[in-house]
């Protein structure tokens, strides 16, 4: 717990350092931009629309697979710790679990779920 407190302190200090640097920059060069200086860049023509739009990600199949496959991480960490202790049973059980999941990956690959362009 104490160790994690230090880690938290380091995290907050780094975040603060970044914020401070930006703030120093803003003091040296105050932010006072005109409308034309704020136009988003796309190479010389002002944009006609907001860039934020309903963004069609083509790899949504992969995203859904990640959602399912990522669960395996939860089991894998404790499994690795007791691997040696538990002996042969551990690789066998985990291999079974992984092979079940791999069927899903192979199926997605066969359905060309990772390709989009």
């Amino acid at each position: 717990m104490a160790l994690l407190g230090s880690a938290l302190a380091v995290f907050l200090a780094a975040v603060l350092a970044v914020g401070m640097t930006r703030w120093v920059g803003d003091v040296l060069n105050p932010l006072a931009l005109t409308v034309s200086e704020k136009v988003p860049f796309s190479g010389g023509s002002p944009p006609d629309f907001h860039a934020w739009n309903r963004f069609h990600i083509r790899w949504y199949t992969m995203a859904l697979l990640f959602l399912a496959f990522d669960m395996e991480m939860v089991f894998m960490y404790p499994w690795a710790v007791v691997f040696v202790r538990e002996g042969l049973i551990s690789p066998v059980e985990m291999l079974m679990f992984i092979l079940i999941l791999l069927v899903g990956i192979v199926y997605a690959w066969r359905e060309r779920g990772f390709e989009w362009a």
Binding site: L28, S36, F41, G44, S45, H50, R54, R58
Partner: protein, 429 residues
């Protein structure tokens, strides 16, 4: 203030970040600036301090100049190289002369900006919203309903059908003409659906007066093969420099550029070494493996390396006696895609060097038709870049943006090449 002076003193030694706007006749000069440690060409005006406007532009007006100028953060300044006084930016520093003069001006101006930001160039465009939105609508943000109106001055993208059978937003956006990702001067009006290019229109062309390089000279009088072929090799190395930087290999690109500058027929070994490094970079396996963009058959006619990469044996050099004496044989690749075009040009660099080495004082061409580095140059036909620009919409649609960029660069486009290469010539004859 002490801090500011101290920082300014250190910043003096920083490479000068320059955002280039490049018109006709200045591409090679600006590209060579990459070799100078004093200067750093950046891909977006947000990373720049100086705006460099170089070269000739059609009828004096430079599209997007004011927009890009205002996007450069303060302190900023503009340098106009070999231009007219009547250009849009009144505060621009005019320079002529050679590269050394330009570098000296850039460095001096950068130091001035760092030391005294109050001398920064003022914005050109007026400080008014493009669309009235403040105070409009129930929340004063300029919109009404969930998607209506022009919130904060711009509308939201509209819905459109998609090849996946889903109706989703399509974002129309004009990219270019001045962006590090595309050849200088190329403007693409694309409709993006996600990261996919659904539709492309090529923007106005920045054609200027006819080129004065050795290849266009060869349409009028015979030129020595040695000079032509060395220049062709140089051209391909310059192309390689640009194309490599866009694939994330700017250092290797610099190597190509540096080699191109000092190139002689005796540099075969260095060229081979460079090409081996390019091949080993995995560019064919990682970046161009499925980039697509096949240009083959009749549409490739007259497009030089692009045609030959697609298996079209189209090369004006075959019909020249001088080349026949040298045992010239066209190099062909079959697939005609982006990777094939890379391979084609890389093979032609060594071929040209070899030809240049053995050519002696043979001369070729001179009768109106020349095989230029981008393809066939004729007395009054369209230049190869113009032909390629017409192919772009069909080639780019359906590609992921990164692939689209790779494809554009594989075609070696110069948007400043004039529509009719030799208008003047025709008038004269």
């Amino acid at each position: 203030m002490g801090v500011r002076e101290a920082l300014a003193g250190l910043a003096r030694w920083s490479p000068v970040p320059v955002f280039p706007i490049v018109g006709g006749g200045a591409r090679d000069l600006v590209r060579d600036l990459r070799l100078r440690p004093e200067v750093e060409l950046v891909a977006t005006p947000r990373h720049a301090t100086l705006l460099l406007v170089a070269g000739r532009f059609p009828s004096g007006a430079i599209p997007g100049l004011a927009v890009v100028h205002d996007q450069i953060p303060v302190p900023r300044a503009t340098v106009r190289w070999n231009g007219e006084v009547s250009d849009e930016i009144s505060s621009a520093r005019l320079v002529g002369g050679d590269e050394e003069d330009l570098i000296a001006t850039l460095v001096a101006l950068h130091r001035e900006m760092m030391a005294d930001p109050s001398r920064s160039g003022p914005p050109i465009l007026p400080d008014v919203d493009a669309v009235e939105w403040r105070g409009v609508g129930p929340y004063g943000h300029g919109g009404k309903g969930m998607t209506g109106g022009t919130p904060y001055g711009r509308p939201l993208a509209e819905r459109a059908g998609d090849r996946d059978g889903i109706e989703l937003d399509q974002l129309p956006v004009t990219i270019g003409p001045w962006v590090g990702a595309l050849p200088w001067g190329l403007e693409l009006a694309v409709k993006l659906q996600g990261d996919l290019v659904q539709e492309v229109e090529v923007g106005p062309r920045l054609s200027t007066d006819p080129p004065t390089d050795v290849f266009s000279m060869a349409t009028r009088k015979p030129m020595t093969v040695a000079v032509l072929e060395l220049e062709r090799a140089r051209h391909h190395l310059r192309w390689l420099a640009d194309a490599l930087s866009i694939q994330g290999l700017s250092a290797l690109g610099l190597r190509a550029l540096r080699l191109g500058k000092i190139l002689t027929p005796h540099h075969q070994r260095e060229v081979r070494r460079l090409l081996a490094m390019v091949r080993r970079s995995g560019i064919f396996g990682l970046a161009l493996n499925r980039a697509g963009g096949e240009v083959t058959g009749s549409q490739a006619k007259g497009l030089g390396p692009v045609a030959r990469a697609g298996g079209v044996d189209d090369d004006a050099r075959r019909d020249e006696p001088a080349y026949r004496e040298l045992g010239f044989q066209t190099i062909l690749h079959q697939k005609g895609d982006a990777a094939a075009r890379w391979r084609q040009r890389m093979a032609e660099v060594t071929q040209s060097l070899d030809l240049s080495d053995r050519a002696g004082d043979r001369t070729a061409f001179g009768a109106g038709l020349v095989e230029g580095p981008r393809g066939r140059i004729t007395a009054n036909g369209p230049s190869p870049s113009v032909v390629v620009l017409d192919l772009l919409p069909q080639l780019l649609s359906g590609l992921e943006w990164g692939d689209a960029v790779s494809l554009v660069w594989s075609l070696d486009i110069d948007p400043t090449e004039s529509v009719e290469t030799h208008v003047d010539n025709r008038g004269a004859s």
